[in-house]
Point group: D3
Chain length 337, copies 6
């Protein structure tokens, strides 16, 4: 890069006409062709709050590297000039560009800043979930099993979406969902234990807690660790998150060696059956009431997030949202003032 | 009856050989025929804790009245002698018998003592539900709507089952279920209002409460008031409890006249959609998140009761219960000590 | 407008090069961008028989008003010159334009002339339906109920489609469908009353007639009164036309006060159950034979219209039509000469 | 038989104590065993209006022939004494018995008198159907095709049920159903031809008539000719009535040789598709509007008969019938006086 | 037992009036009550070819031990007298009786002789299956995995049914089915490898073989080892045979340590997906062609056995069998001479 | 054409700049419009291995004939110059063009060379299938029936796809599929005849062979004989290949006159039922075990081809293919080196 370095800035804070160095995600790279046959690329770079176009013409300097090296979903450090076209909107004129390096990462570059992510602090959520497991699971070996799995999955929990498209589809969504489900389960198991004090066998509070915390732990292995648009892993496709979670429990319990075998069996059962029906993804039906609590807490939490996201994003003027493709319906929002 | 009246007793407290006056439900009346062609009736009388047989032979004194007048499900005052046959078990020898009268009812006869009923005190539950409505629903006209409906349905809520066969199938079950669902909804709406503070429109706590309290209010009209084995009413068959509940809300809101029309519309919607899908009994799909909360609280509560009842009654020696015909599966109970 | 007014004409009667004043529907308004970045709008105006384009360039005089004020589905009075481009077809050059006013309407402007509508005279059809109700429904209060509802819905019946996409999707289609179903029902109930003269209860001719006339009356409230592409109303989405129709009957019967309650109950039932199954839109199953007649007459009439429309519009050369997206199949039309 | 012959009588006209000769159907023959191990048969003979029992003890004279020769569903000429037991009801004491012979048939014995059958005169119905075909089908070769098939199937049409259990399950029901469907179709095709006068191709009235008359002609081969409880034939099981009817049309058209091939193809299509969906029994979907008319006329007529039969037979005291096992619901009949 | 021991015989070889010692299965033990109220048991003992009754009256010597100790499904050594009652058929008069002991087993008592079992020699079948694995699986570690699992499951394979009711429901049926499926798979994989020689990746013959041999290995753990009417185990109910088989493969592969991980993953996949759809019992869909071969070979083999068994057992006189409750249809057998 | 004829070449062998005469299929003809309103056509000609574009501008010489005469799916003889544009790829400049004539066909033009077709020699496959029928079907009249049908369908078998989109969708695919299924069936029937030697009736090897060879013979009439993208025929739409095949068997058997009627009936049954369920296309369920063999051999063969084709064509870099639209899933292919 040139001697007098421009300042390091954030794309979304730049003023029209300003030149600076900034990190961006290459969100889109589409090939087109002009009427005279010359190819070009329309590239779209963005950070979390702004997206700007860069046209790469075949006779400009960036064509070859764009064609052969740039990848959608990758991060770049750009030196460029920002402008706003009256019709085409935000534009970048690239002066220099290179992929992000490990040095950048050590210097504080964080890919999560460039994608949609949970509104909550992931460290605080993880600590909260950890403390719930620590304080609420009475059976010592079972508690250790849960904590071991939390510990080993902590990075993925903090960065993965709960699902790629349906619910909590953003970084950290998996942790946010898990924590919410666990809180709901804690309330419900205490409620129902109170209502059925003589049940034999009694409702197992430890099992419900462990089931809530671990019900989606398999999702940490179902998707890879790409920050922008993670993909299914090989084992994710072959097994799915339900079997992956159950295997994690089974293997870890074996490794630890001291968890009561019936507890392990029932915890595996809660995980296998928490989607309730084969056509919804569970190979076995719920055979214990603890499973019902995890199922309903999970299902409600996922749907609440979908409804809330649909309502939040909708721009329609009518009292109903546009049709949500996942929900298959138009939600009511009333005539907001 | 004879001059020296025998004492008034309870069937389930009688000793073999004892004679007394007692109230019973005629639970079963089956015609049979002996090998020589003579018809007879096997009758089974019971109170809440004991059931005893009475054979009515064609040449005994009770045959004609049994054949022409006695009805299954009706209550009788019996003067009789109680015995226990080594093979056939508890027997009654009827000395005198007549249907229960209004005088009996005024003198304290209570049909509910003869059928299965909720473990909880119905007056206490009703008061609790009332107070929840009173204290938790902020919108004054909506609160008055809910209280008016509670007031008018109080007798039925306290005596009806939630359903005849599936869940809470016992007297007072409807109130027990409604109260439990309301508590769950109260917790969940506060939880989710906290998690989505910026939702537009915000989660409507009043609506969730009102929906929870009234979601099954139509069941007070779906079944008649027969204490033993209530039957569907004509409007119950033509409309079903979902439409009946929605009509009660609509009519009462009109009568009161001051409830915000959008609130009435959304409360009707929660009731219509709380079973979530047409094939599960809801003519419309949920279009607001409040409906999700009522649906999941309701569904979980019904299933928990079914699981708990299945586990409580099971006598199988194996670690699994017998197949529950409603659930369509065998639950796990472990090897109880 | 200018002093020497051009003549008032119809768009579809104009000659190339002719200038005139005419009413049009703005059927399409799509934003585009030229290669140099300048935006433009492609507008399409039409009356019932001709559609003509008007390009609104960003540097022409109409751009701003087009961008901010014109709405698809609205009607305008245009002063313009008509031409036919060899490649792009019919074109308008707008000289002046303003939205249609109430004065226009009073002066005879009729929006229905600009959209697809029933082949039949709506006044004549309405009179025929009215007379059927008047002459064929014997029970006086029931007849009055039907006539009251017809009277109050007359405007909507005459202008609404029966459905927006599936069957009779054109103005007045709702009335055309209702009349046709009523005729069929009249024939069928007489036929089956003759075949089952001893049926107890006998087939109720009045009920069948009333059910036929009112089975889709809820559709008058399900869609709004936009002439071009009507939209679902709020109550339409929350309740659907089946419940809306049943409510109209219930409310009007209460208001009138003299209809036999059992008749009202059965009429509501016919409406609720006339789609026969929950997955087809009826919350309850048919419990009386009268309902079968209305269901089959309705279903057949809707399908006949769909088949006839598919056959009428098809332009394929093969002996089968193109695949009809609603019917999901290709109809046979033979090798027409 | 003995010299002084008793009079020939009808079982249902006999007086207790009377002896006579009469024809009966052996409706039931069940083996039992007494406590001492001796086997016996409970036989039940009946004519159309009365059923009477005959106990065949192992030490009586009829045991061996009952065990080895008598068949349920067969007809017998019996000389016997009729009695009415106070408990067991009508009894026969058999003096002599032999299977019905061809001589009996020639002497006027008619098996149809012993089973449930249509309320209408089968000869009159057949004549009416014949005349409809003759007068209403304009295309001469097509008309001849229909008449040929009617002629060849006349005996079966007059004696078979339309189906063994579901609708018109009685002798002659097939003809009664066919005639009713044909009348309905005649009305509907004229109605819709009038409503769609410009349809291309126009509604083919001849095809609708022929389709109505022949839609169930395959049922004449699906069941055998046993008067009491007919059984499925081999070809009936392998092909079903839909394919059997279509084959009859195809074969007969080939034999006659002069029917327009497109008409034959379309008539076959109406028959194949008249049940509308694969899961309802039609291998192909309706591709012409004529098929819709036959489908709806057929479906409505079958259901009307099921509803009427359910209502006619019901003995319940409540305003609803007992649950009809075929319809899967309880119909409403009101509180009959 | 008495001094002069009667000979040891087989029940099905005894002559009426003969007394002997023999082993039997208690196939049925049903409590009844006489008219005078005295209880009794009807017991039915059998060996593979004969079943004989023993009435245990309340005043006979065996009542108490029958009531408190005898269990259906258990084996006994009986000293008794055999007779044939003209009405009630084969009878035993028990002189002495005791449960079978380990000494009996060592002395040659084999429970399998008393239940329905495979027509083939289980040792020969096992050897054949072993040799197929040994000779046909080329990959050494994979072969060792399969052989290890065969070795450990050999006893269960030889004695269990393939399923309790649906297909191969007899002792050794599991092995017979597995061997048959393996042979079919061997043929099919060679056939399709020949037809698609260039497929990338090529069809993996080893995988198909291993999948065929192990696809139902989980059934060795799904049912317990009761010879007569085996019951589902706890893990059988919680996991089902599909997951049990996959776990066996996974665990054994880990234990052995040298199988290629991708091979293990694909072998697990074949097992998980061999039932093809969630609603048929597979939690994942087939993603490799090898799985198709195992699925079709398995499905065909199970159905062929069901058809063959239905045809073999049928006693109907008609050209069709009685309705098979599992197949839900009547098979054609023709008019056998 | 001009005097000095250019050489006759193949499109896919031409060098840039070369001029020649060659046969092509017009694979695509799409109308477009330039910004100035002038229409043009983008045409795409191809032979089996190369596709090249030809732009037809409105002011060029070929516009009118292109607009009025050229048809997609037709073959043309072209004299033209071949070029390769750096951006737009292969181009043709048409000098002369005319439709292919019968003379061309006689001179060796073969349309099959221009479409995807089976990898195998169709003559060799047909001979092999013929010989299988000749040598393996023991019953002489049945064998003659099969050979007659093969003979009459030989041309279509050799050129049609098995289906247009799902499996074997290429010329000759129908024969390739039929031969493969027949081989599998031959193996399976011998296998199962060996395993069930005592089955009554025994497995009929002739029937299985005939069923395998003829199960899809109806497809020769379901599609027309267009080489490129064949269309459904009228009888194909009305009857479908299952009924068409069964009719071919029925008619030919009648014509030949000597085939055992029960064999014909069972062969028709195998064809009608070989898709196993109504929702999969079979109007009747399999009632004989022979049908199971044909069904499974057919289903497996179709699916193997779909999997193999999906794997062969996939270009994705990941270990899974792109989602196959027919299979509805992504297959695993591993990380190919």
């Amino acid at each position: 890069m040139s001697k007098s370095k421009p300042p390091v800035v954030r794309l979304h804070e730049m003023q029209p006409g300003q030149t600076g160095d900034f990190f961006v995600l290459l969100a889109e790279r589409v090939r087109g062709a002009r009427r005279d046959g010359k190819p070009y690329y329309t590239c779209r770079f963005r950070d979390a709050q702004r997206s700007a176009a860069f046209m790469v013409w075949s006779d400009g300097g960036w064509f070859e590297v764009c064609e052969t090296e740039w990848r959608e979903g990758a991060f770049y450090k750009v030196r460029g000039r920002y402008d706003e076209h009256p019709t085409y909107g935000p534009q970048i004129d690239v002066i220099n560009i290179r992929p992000v390096t490990d040095d950048d990462r050590q210097a504080g570059f964080d890919p999560l800043e460039f994608v949609e992510r949970t509104r909550y602090d992931v460290e605080a959520m993880f600590t909260e979930l950890w403390k719930l497991a620590e304080s609420q699971i009475g059976d010592v070996p079972l508690r250790r099993l849960v904590l071991t799995l939390l510990d080993r999955s902590s990075k993925a929990l903090k960065t993965r979406p709960a699902s790629t498209k349906h619910f909590y589809p953003f970084a950290g969504g998996l942790l946010e969902h898990t924590l919410s489900v666990t809180h709901t389960c804690l309330h419900l198991v205490d409620k129902y234990a109170g209502r059925y004090p003589d049940l034999m066998p009694p409702l197992n509070r430890d099992l419900v807690l462990a089931g809530a915390i671990l019900h989606d732990i398999g999702r940490t292995r179902e998707l890879d660790d790409a920050v922008a648009s993670p993909q299914a892993t090989v084992e994710g496709r072959f097994l799915g998150h339900v079997l992956l979670a159950r295997d994690l429990v089974r293997d870890t319990a074996r490794e630890l060696g001291d968890v009561d075998p019936e507890l392990v069996q029932l915890l595996e059962h809660i995980i296998l059956a928490h989607l309730e029906r084969p056509e919804w993804g569970s190979p076995r039906l719920p055979l214990i009431p603890e499973c019902l609590i995890v199922h309903h807490a999970d299902d409600l939490d996922a749907k609440m997030e979908m409804y809330a996201r649909c309502l939040s994003r909708d721009q329609e003027e009518s009292p109903f949202t546009a049709r949500d493709p996942v929900l298959g319906r138009q939600l009511y929002k009333g005539r907001r003032k």
